[in-house]
Each structure stands twice: as C-alpha cells, then as structure tokens.
Amino acid sequence: MATVPKTEQDAAQPGARAKVLRPALGKARGSTWGAVRKSWQAYALLSPIFILLIVFGYYPPILGLVRAFYRWRPGLPATFVGLENFTSYFSYAVTPQELLNITKLLFFGLFVGVFVPFVMAELIFFVRSQAIKEFYRLLVIIPMLVPGIVTILLWQKMYDPQLGPINDLLRALGLDGLARNWLGEPATALYAIMFVGFPWVWGVGTLIYLGGLGQISKSVYEAAALDGCTGIGRVYRIDLPLVLGQVRLLAILAVIGAITSFQNVLVLTDGGPGFATMVPGLSMYHSAFRGQQFGYSSAIGLMLFIVAMSGTILINRSIRPTNEEVTR
C-alpha cells in the first residue's frame, strides 16, 4: 500500500478543494466505473471489516431468520417445518407464565432504566458546587467496577435464606416472620430478581442524562427563574422536555434489554422455582443448549427480535425530542 503512486492517492481521496471540482471531473470521465476504480484504496481499507461482518455479522441473523422455520439439530440435516416452531411455542403450557413475567420485567426495566437515572441525574445536576458535582459523576460509576456476574452472585448471597444479610437484618429487627427464601418461593422469586441492584444507581444512564442536562443553555434557566419556575416545576417543564432525546435512547435500551436479557434469571433461579421466573429468552437458551432444538430456539429468538424491534420503532415514533433552538 505504501508504494502507491502519489497521483493515484490524491485522486482517491480529494480534499476540500477537490470536492468543488469533483462533479465536473465525474462528468468528464462519464462513468461510475471510473470512480470505483479510482477508489480502490478505500475499498481495500474497508475489506477486512466487511469480510468479518459478512461472515460473523450479517450471516448469523439471516440464518436465524431462515432456520426459525426448520427443525434444526446439530449433526442432522435441517428440514423445513413451516410455522410449527411458532405454534408449538404458543401451545406450550409455560408460555403464558413467560409472557406475564416478561411484561412485568419490561415495565420494571423502563422504571429502572429511564426513570431512576433521571432522578439520579437531576439530584447531581442540582448540586451547586462544580467540584462536588464532578466528584459525584465519578462515584456513580463505582458499582460498575465490579463485574456484572459478581454483582449477581453477591445478590444471590444477599438473599441466602440462612446466611444472607437481608434475612439477618429482618431477624435483627424482630421481623422473623418476614424472613424467607426470597429466590426459592414462587411468590417472591421474580420480585427478588427485580430487586437486584437496589437502589439501581446506574452510571451509564445517569451520565447520559447529565450530558443532556449540561447542554441546556443558561439563558433558558435564567428566563425560567425570572418567571418563578424553579425546583420540581423546572424539572418537569424545562429539564424533561429538553432531555427527551436521552429519554428516547434509554427507553430503547431498556426495552431491548428487558425483552432479550435472561442472564440474571439464568444465574439466580434458572427459571425456577418450578417455572415461576421463566422468561422467553431463557426458554430459548434451554431449548438450544439442553434440548438441542436449535430451530425452535431460533424461532423464539426471532419473535424476541420482532418484539424488541417493534418496541424500538414505537418509542422512536412516540417520543419526539424538542427542537435544538433552546439548547446551547
């Protein structure tokens, strides 16, 4: 690459001045093919990433889309079965429980992923001292310094019926009657999974909001203060409308996360006790890696994709950020 003649290179990547001349040059040569040939260097530079993406980026989801309609097991030829995988999922006795659980987790995910970080960001934003504000901004990251799996395993210990701090605390307060096997009883297991991470201080979401709040221009606040719009009223009437872009981003992340993730459930209860905490994602995992039903599993994956995608589109349509005029 280094031995390329200079003229060739210059033509391949014209600068700002050449941009003006470009249309004229293109017409003179009169062919797109000429432009493609001149641009070989750009294509050569992009080829490694595209080779990787075609094999490992585009191919798997397309394969999943197709194989959702097949009976597919490792080492056996795949056979087309139409909608059988989908109908068998919906006639499976545990499916209503899974759908109920994922609905609860979805609403809870929106609360934890959209609302809580907003509150945290506002609290930090209201701090007057600039230095302390920056310090808090670093502190919200600390819970993320522990690997995700360790956090989940630590919470499993928190819930331990005999040796866990939650039951220890209840017994110390004389509330022995409330102490229970939180993850082991059908009535509490799903809520115990939701409670993991309490009070759900999430550095990523908080910082995304703080970035948006920092963009709001001082003059807006000064005008609002003159009109007597301060405190909670300001949060509701000024801050919130001006961070709708961030709300939208976090809502999309929350919906995709709630629909597709099952790591917490897998580690904490594996869907139990019984099927009390089963979710579709875990069903997908079980049917592939314990049942060897990869077609059926792909069908669940496809349905989760469609639901997550619809949620994304719905949020994109319904939350419209205010125009940029009032931001800096």
Binding site: G57, Y58, L63, L65, I141, I142, M144, V243, G301
Partner: protein, 285 residues
Amino acid sequence: MNQTITRRRPWQPAQVGLHLTILILLLLSLIPTYLMLLLSFKNGLQYRWERWSISLPLRGSNYGASWQVIDAFMWNTLLVAVVGLAGVLLLSLIGGYVFARMRFPLREPLYYAIISLLMVPWVLSFIPAYMLYNNLGLLNTRWALIIPNLAGGPIFGIFLMRTFITGIPEELFESARCDGAGVWSLIRHIALPLSLPGLATLAVLNFIESWNSFLWPLVTISDASLQVISVGLFKLSRITNDGVDFGAGGPLYAGYVLASIPLVILFFALGKFYVEGLMESGIKM
C-alpha cells in the same frame, strides 16, 4: 448554576438534603461491594459467626488461595480482551478515517450497512452464531471469544471514530497530502493522535464488555483451561453452594475482588474518557 445566590447563603438546607440523598443512594448501592470485601478476609468460622462485621485476624491468605484457582481464568480473559481490543481499535480507526475523509461511490450506503447492525439485538444471532462457530470448528477455541469482538466492536467503533475524525480540520490533512503523505501516514500522523480521546472511550467500553462477557463463553467454551473469569467464578460459586468447599466462601469472595481489579485500574487510568464519552453519546444519537 446560580453562583451569586450560593455566595449570599453559604449554608442551605435544600443543598444539604440533596447531598445526603445522593450519598445515601450511593452507600446503599455499595452494600454488596462492602459484603464482598468483608467476606474476602474471613475463614469458615468467621464467616459463620461474625458475618457482617470486620473480624480479626484478617485472612489475607484467602487471596493467595483464590489466585491459584482463578489465575488461568484471569489471564485467558485478559489475553482475549486485549487481542480483541487491539483489532477493534485498528479496524475502527481505519473505518472511521475512510468514511470521514475519503470520497468513493457507495460511501453512505456502505456506512449505513455497517451501522444498521447496531439495531440487530444479539438475541437473533445468538443461536445461529453458535451453530456457525460449531460448523467452522471454532467452538472451544480462543477464536470463539476473539472473533465476536473483532466483528462486533468496530460497528459502534466506526460510528464513533467517524464523528471524531470528521471533527479534525481538513486543512491538516490537505497540507500533509501536499507534502506527499499517503493514507497510512495520514492515519498514523494526523487521525490517530487527534482522535485519541475517542479511541480511549472506545477502549474502555470495549474492555468492560469483554471482561463482563458471560453467556457466550458459557456456551462456546467447555475446556476449563480456556475459560474466562465470569464463567469461572460462576462455576466456582456453584461448587461452594454444593458444599464442596472453596474455603467456605472466603477465597471465593477474594476471587470476586481480584476479578474487579482490572476494571478498577482501567477506571483510574481512563475513567475520565468513559464519563465524557457517555455524556456525549446521548447527545449524538
């Protein structure tokens, strides 16, 4: 915000309440971390009888015992994360440069073809990707851990690096080109040094993701000597629960602490870029 008002009233109940609320929330979220540090210094008896307070002597030997079991997991994760990260940074820098600074037919369609993959949740690819790696004979090799990062990391990376490199003044590239600089030289001497904050943000995000990856190694790696730290700790925690003693807990918690150290180091080295990168990401998207 309102500096003038602050100076007139140095002590405000509202501000004190604010600080207290923030600190209480932060303290509550650190309870599991406190638990982890506390238990990592206890032996079986201390664990049984003095669970929630510091009990002497501190069993520092838990850390040595733990390291002997998890060192391979730690090195495996580090190797896979660093090799993957190097590739991701290189591919993102090159891709970002090409899309920001070169003009060629189909530039925008190709760019959106890459970015659109950000919209495909991993859940659709998880099962078929496993089968693909199975058919290619990549299961239970380090490639099964490195390739997903190499193919997945640059998707967001190219998006990020393109914005950064677009922000570099064109005159810099133009004058270097007049001096006869080639593409590699433009990337190395202009794009690379001037987009270091972007690369640092990308590096932090990517490393955290690699260090935390759990489900994919859980299904693709069966050989314990190739396993990564998250899955290793998960399996060790199960052994403890079944009563086969990994030191009645102590060393297990020491392992949790050890597994956090790379993230802590990364945070102290590059935390600033991480915080700034996140604050900007919401504005750009």
